[in-house]
Amino acid sequence: MNAVRAPAVVVLVAMAVGAAVFGTGPTSTPDTGVLPPLHAGVSLTAESGDLWFCVGPTVALDGVDERVVTLTSISDEATDGWVTVIGNLGSEVERAFRLEPGARLEIRPGPFVPRATFAGVTVEVPGGRVLVDQRLAGQGSGVGVEVGPCGTITSDVWQVPWATTAQPGNRAMLLLYNPFRAPAIADLRFIGDLGRRETLDRQGVVVAGRSISVFDLSERIPDSSVVSATVDVRVGQVVAARLQIADGSGPDGSSGLALTLGAPEVSPRLFLPGVPSAAGLGSSVVVLNPGDETTELEVLVRPAATEVFVEPYRITLRGRQREVVDLGPDRLDGIGPYSVEVRSLDGVPLAASLVTRQVADGQEGGPAGLSVLPAVGVGATGWRIRLQGRADATLVIANPGATTIATVSLSTTGAEWPAGVPDRFEIDPAGQIQVPVGADGLVLVSASVPVVVVVRRSGPDGRTTALGVAVAGSQARPAP
């Protein structure tokens, strides 16, 4: 048999060379479709359910006058669900409810769990389309109020950048709520004025299933002007929140009440819209680097007036350290309303909070003011904000994207849109707008790109700042 060698060899060599030349290497891990976490999101379709978690004290806690959890239906049909109230003394009550379209249901957790000083409330809504928020009022005049949505997220990592145990006059508590049946095990790390505070009794803290644990920071890390906390849950997931009560007798003279969820996510870019610029208020940004790497970061002040430029605050932050940046008037005087962006220059994930309080030399008789806004790294194109209470609200909408103009539409249900207030805006990149929206009703925000929505309330009973509720599924990271 005569066989020819050349054609076959040529073809084989060509195949080998072609494979080497035209082949592509491993591709990056495809996007798994998992959306970034938001502290609160509401489903607008009946096929998707929501689970809301509200943590806080009951009126049995000294200094707390009122705590009300409000369920508001935004559905056009009746909604069924369950409410579970779990006290810190082990009691547990579960009730079913039905909400008619547009109806509200107020729940006061205290009576469900007598003698419990803290209570976690889990609201399960299989059909979604229910907003859950809570109102917490301090005891006596001038102690403040906290109004904001409950969370819809549990996580195995929480960051609480700011609390204070400065004495006298401050009480801070870390609340760990485990709404699930399996126990959770968490490691707690604190950073006080003296640096990192890690002891064995804070390692492997067991949070029993369906329970709420309270960690009194004032006792564990007393007299520290700033306490930062990291909750690292080894097993399971929890909801972490910090309750801060200041009676005005402290060194800075501030008074107020702040119940704020921790940050469930760290990010190299964080946004803090709606920094108030009113006289008598002082704001500071607390940046926490929970990792081990040292980072160079900037705190960027972005005034609403785009022609104004403010020199960024540059900080070098070592691992497991935090820094407080005082947004004092020396650099920001007269720039008007602004937002803040915290950006790590080397991609190290961070956590941050905006702390706003009444300064000691402020005007007498103003509203009690202690509000803490956790920074977020995520925006959303849909938001729902329920207005309640006895205070006028201002909606702050920030466009965290650096390149794209955001087109935002506003509407409301349950109340008339304020006369003379436009309902359609265009927001420049890194810009923000403020819209007065009255005291009651439901505001719907729809944006062309992810935006961050914050509600500022100021009334006779206090001043609060809180994030809105994102529409589930609409969240996304802003364009860099």
Binding site: A19, L51, S155, F180, A182
Partner: protein
């Protein structure tokens, strides 16, 4: 007495031979038994004194002799008892035997000297007279004559020293006249073939000796219509021999012995008919069947001959038998009509054994044995401690026959109950495990590990015609040294191992089908071990081999097509397209045969069963394997799952390509053509892997190990061609003799490097497999399904397994992101290892939808959704074996554990191995339960399996009984044989989401799976298989020629 039946031109030579006899008194009587009546004139020309008797018809040799002798005597008016005219001897002669001039005299002298009653000559074949034609025969227990000589045996005087025989040559026999008369002459009913045997037999019974005169020589001339050459219509030996055998046994043996032999012949008839039908030898069947009525019709003559013999019997049967060597294999001869020609060293069986022994002790056999020793050493802990339940290597069911039942009933409990059976090989495994003694685990271990030796043996057989032992050794070593089977073992993949074992056998059939040298006559001479068959036989065998491979793993079709394409392209590019048409015909025909054998599967596919359901989910992200790992056939390095390291050694892995490359560079002629074909098989395998690795394939993805099997096969094949060429100087004509010796050295070195990783890898005794498995880490989940006769409340809890598909302990369905989910009833076993149609598994569909909802954050009550299908636990699997043992690791995306943790009705179980994350479902509902009307509470029923497909249900409450066993339409419930009406889901009085029946507390009923359709299909498949086997046997029989024998 010369009996002529229309003889040819050679008849004159026959007559001349008679005329030349030097015996004093020879009276020639010619019997013209033919139709043309031309004998008398020809006889008159040569033997004018000869007497010619013409018969009206052709009554057969014996009858013609009898009639002619009687007529001759009557014509001469002699008394049959007259002493003067009666000849002393008769010489009965066929019309195609030319006697030497001294033959008659020497036979007479021999008769006188030996006092023999019958004397026969030495009959040689043809004119030259070098080959023996007939030297008499022996008779076995059942009266079958067995020639003393083998076909084509040369005359070397080897039989001259042993003249005594049972029966002399048929063509010419000298019989003492009185003896002839005493025993009644020839049996007139035995027309052809065995008349001389009967006569000799009776002569021996009468006390006469039967012998051969070696110096009396006759030569067989002409067409040869006597002896075994008889081809007259209705006179085929296969038809006549059984008749004669029975008649001679009845006529010549004592009554008692005749009864025993007749009974035995009846048994041989039954077996022979079965054998003949299976082998396609219908003439043999007809001969066996017709022997009985034929003899019954002639019982009168039989009686007469027995009476005659009774008068002259002088010797008993045993003495007759003892007088000569009685051949062995009488039973086999009676059943099959054939028997081995010898029992000594020349016997074919002995010859084959010697060949096998020689091959085993040669380089190829030594390579096989050394490989077996290394692999046996390397797998010692697997054999002694059992195969760890990794991936698809889960344990057999508690009752291995469940595998057979699953195949027969077409139903498996996996995936909440599916009507998609596994491969047919599972049923065979079940039978095997049931029949073999010892542990089922040992059987399973042996079956899995058998993939290595079976594959190596297939390669050994594939390359046998290519060259000598060295080429076989090189091929076997290359095939066993590639990392892919060990990677498949480590990852618990069954399909690649099955293909590894079976593909060489398919490739061998395809190569033989093409018929190009060395696998056929095209382009050269066939190599050793080549068996040339006809087209039909090739098609049937190729189809059966393919069907057998598909029975183990249907995915073998893909690499088989790669091999076929490689052969076609390689042949074309080598410039030797010979045989491609035949290859195409055999491949198409073989595919058709395989399709017939797997008719149920084909019907399923035609009915819309997706191809994905044959392969199961596989994770293969783009570019994850890579160029280097692909060429080293090292899949352990590049899969999505990360393991403890590859079985191969990275840089050494390239050595596997060296020897095959030599096939392209140093060979010529048919070896070069073979090398090119082998390389294009390799290239086909590489191309298929590359296409998938680059993400260009849109469809079901097969594991990399499976797609690389053709590569390994092609490399081994090419290595054989390369090594075969090393012994020939013509292969490397351009190299100087001194440099030619470098090539073998390079080949030897690269082969040594190739096998080194396997030798090193064998040291741990587990071939890289882990020491422990997941079931050992999950004792509370490792409860097998409830055995027959045992009771449970509500049925077995189900488990949902979520993870990368290859490390799940059961075959899964895709969930997304390269993650799959599987549902099992308790501990997974082998019934859970084969994919099924998702569209026929509503339970799995609902469970998957529930999990997707939970992962998307749309629900926080996943437990309720899973619990509706009896799921008690959800297990996230991230390692193929528990930590800290070596295992394949495939971490799940973080959102999986997070999403399950967020479920309010799932409780994470702590303190277990980090290989798994387990969630207990507190919302689990029993699989079999009665739903109370008022409260809607599910009260578990007491369930007792009565059989694989039959459950006894004892209800504990009034309400609606519902069961979550699929498929819903194939289960029926009856109470005392009465089928209560089944209420549809949501019907008044029924259950919201499932069909149900109304029951009262304490009711006992039967829940029975209806597998009639599956059983019908299986029956059809068995019939199709039998038909194909029968056809293959028939085709093979018809095609058996001398050429078809093994070449030594």
């Amino acid at each position: 007495v010369l009996v002529a039946h229309d003889p040819g031109e050679w008849f004159d030579d026959v007559l001349a031979g008679l005329a030349a006899q030097d015996h004093r008194q020879v009276h020639v009587l010619v019997v013209d038994a033919g139709r043309r009546r031309q004998v008398a004139a020809r006889v008159a020309d040569v033997l004018p004194d000869a007497e010619v008797v013409s018969l009206d018809d052709s009554p057969g040799f014996g009858a013609a002799v009898n009639l002619a002798l009687a007529e001759s005597a009557a014509r001469r008016g002699d008394s049959a008892t007259g002493p003067h005219m009666l000849p002393r001897f008769h010489l009965f002669l066929h019309d195609d035997v030319v006697l030497d001039g001294t033959a008659v005299r020497r036979m007479v002298e021999r008769a006188v000297a030996a006092n023999a009653g019958i004397v026969g000559p030495k009959v040689l074949a043809g004119g030259e007279g070098r080959l023996l034609d007939d030297m008499g025969s022996a008779v076995d227990r059942y009266g079958s004559p067995v020639p003393r000589i083998d076909a084509g045996e040369a005359d070397q005087g080897q039989y001259d020293g042993h003249p005594d025989v049972f029966a002399v040559a048929e063509a010419a026999m000298l019989v003492r006249a009185d003896l002839f008369a005493a025993v009644g002459g020839f049996d007139p009913e035995i027309r052809f073939l065995d008349g001389h045997v009967d006569l000799c037999w009776r002569a021996r019974l009468a006390g006469a000796a039967v012998t051969t005169a070696p110096t009396a020589v006759g030569r067989r001339v002409g067409g040869g219509d006597a002896g075994t050459g008889v081809r007259r219509r209705g006179a085929h030996p296969a038809i006549l021999r059984p008749r004669h055998r029975l008649r001679m046994s009845l006529a010549n043996q004592t009554a008692g012995r005749a009864v025993v032999v007749t009974a035995e012949l009846a048994v041989t008839t039954v077996l022979g008919v079965a054998y003949g039908l299976l082998a396609g030898r219908f003439r043999h069947v007809w001969g066996l069947l017709s022997a009985w009525p034929w003899n019954l019709r002639r019982r009168a003559g039989l009686r007469t001959r027995r009476q005659v013999m009774a008068l002259h019997r002088r010797v008993d049967d045993p003495s007759v038998a003892a007088g000569t060597h009685r051949p062995h294999h009488a039973f086999r001869r009676a059943v099959t009509g054939r028997a081995p020609h010898g029992t000594g060293p020349e016997a074919p069986g002995q010859v084959r054994f010697h060949h096998l022994w020689g091959a085993l002790l040669g380089p190829g056999g030594t390579a096989l044995m050394v490989s077996a020793a290394v692999l046996g050493f390397g797998a010692r802990h697997l054999v002694t401690r059992g195969l760890p339940a990794v991936g698809r290597f889960q344990a057999l069911p508690a009752d291995p026959l469940d595998l057979v039942r699953a195949w027969w009933q077409g139903w498996r409990p996996t995936g909440t109950g599916v009507a998609t059976p596994g491969p047919d090989g599972l049923a065979l495994l079940g039978v095997l495990a049931s029949l073999l003694p010892g542990s089922d685990h040992l059987v399973w271990t042996a079956v899995v590990l058998a993939a290595l030796p079976v594959g190596a043996l297939g390669v050994w057989r594939l390359v046998r015609p290519v060259g000598g032992g060295r080429s076989r050794a090189a091929a076997v070593l290359v095939y066993l040294a590639v990392p892919l089977p060990y990677d498949a073992l480590r990852e618990g993949r069954l399909a690649p191992l099955a293909v590894y074992a079976t593909l060489p056998w398919i490739a061998h059939r395809l190569a033989v089908a093409q018929g190009v040298a060395p696998y056929g006559h095209r382009g050269g001479d066939p190599g050793p071990g080549t068996r040339i068959r006809n087209l039909g036989s090739d098609i049937a065998l190729t189809g059966l081999v393919t069907a057998a491979a598909i029975a183990v793993s249907p995915t073998v079709v893909v690499p088989a097509l790669v091999v076929l394409a490689g052969l076609v392209v390689g042949s074309a590019l080598a410039g030797s397209p010979a045989g491609l048409g035949r290859l195409g015909a055999v491949a198409a025909g073989g595919a058709a045969v395989a399709a017939v054998v797997h008719l149920p599967l084909v019907l399923d596919l035609l009915g819309g069963r997706p191809l994905e359901s044959l392969a199961g989910p596989t994770t293969w992200s783009t570019g994850s394997l890579g160029y280097s790992a692909m060429f080293r056939l090292d899949t352990g390095a590049g899969s999505l799952a990360t393991g403890p390291g590859t079985f191969g050694i990275d840089r050494i892995g390239w050595a596997v390509l060296v020897v095959p490359v030599l096939a392209l560079l140093t060979t010529s002629g048919w070896r070069l053509a073979l090398g090119i074909r082998a390389w294009f098989v390799t290239a086909g395998g590489f191309a298929s892997v590359w296409i998938v690795d680059q993400g260009w394939s849109h469809g079901p993805v097969l594991p990399a190990e499976l797609l690389l099997v053709p590569v390994a096969l092609g490399l081994a094949w090419a290595a054989a061609a390369a090594v075969a060429a090393m012994g020939t100087t013509i292969a490397t004509p351009r190299l100087r003799p001194g440099r030619r010796s470098v090539v073998p050295a390079i080949a030897a070195l690269s082969l040594a490097l190739t096998v080194l990783p396997v030798v090193v890898g064998s040291l741990d005794g587990r071939l890289g497999m882990p020491d422990a498995d997941l079931p050992s880490a999950l004792p509370f989940l490792a409860e097998p399904r409830t055995a027959v006769g045992n009771s449970t409340r509500g049925g077995d809890d189900r488990v949902v397994w979520v993870g990368e598909p290859s490390i799940l302990p059961a075959v899964g369905v895709p969930l997304g992101d390269g993650v799959a989910l599987a549902v099992t009833d308790g501990r997974p076993d082998l019934l859970d290892q084969w994919p099924y149609r998702l569209d026929r598994a509503p339970g799995v569909e609902e469970i998957r939808a529930g999990l997707s909802e939970a992962l998307a954050g749309h629900t926080n009550r996943l437990g309720a959704a899973l619990g509706a299908w009896g799921v008690g636990h959800v297990v996230l699997v991230e390692r193929s074996a528990p930590a800290p043992h070596e295992a394949v690791e495939a971490p799940l995306p973080a959102n999986y554990a997070a999403a399950l943790t967020r479920q309010l009705d799932l409780v994470r179980i702590e303190g277990l191995n980090r290989a798994v994350t387990i969630f207990s479902n507190i919302a689990r509902r029993p699989v079999h339960a009665v739903v109370r009307d008022r409260t809607g509470r599910h009260v578990p029923a007491v369930v007792t399996p009565l059989a694989y497909d039959r459950l006894e249900i004892l209800t504990g409450a009034d309400g609606a009984l519902r069961w979550t066993v699929g498929p819903a339409e194939s289960w029926s419930f009856s109470i005392d044989g009465v089928h209560p009406p089944i209420m549809a889901a949501g019907a008044t009085g029924g259950v919201v989401d499932r069909p149900s029946v109304r029951v009262a507390s304490g009711t006992t009923g039967l829940l029975v799976h209806d597998g009639r359709v599956a059983r019908s299909r299986r029956l059809l498949q068995v019939m199709a298989l039998c038909s194909v086997l029968l056809l293959a046997s028939w085709v093979r029989t018809e095609g058996d020629t001398d050429e078809g024998r093994d070449r030594p």
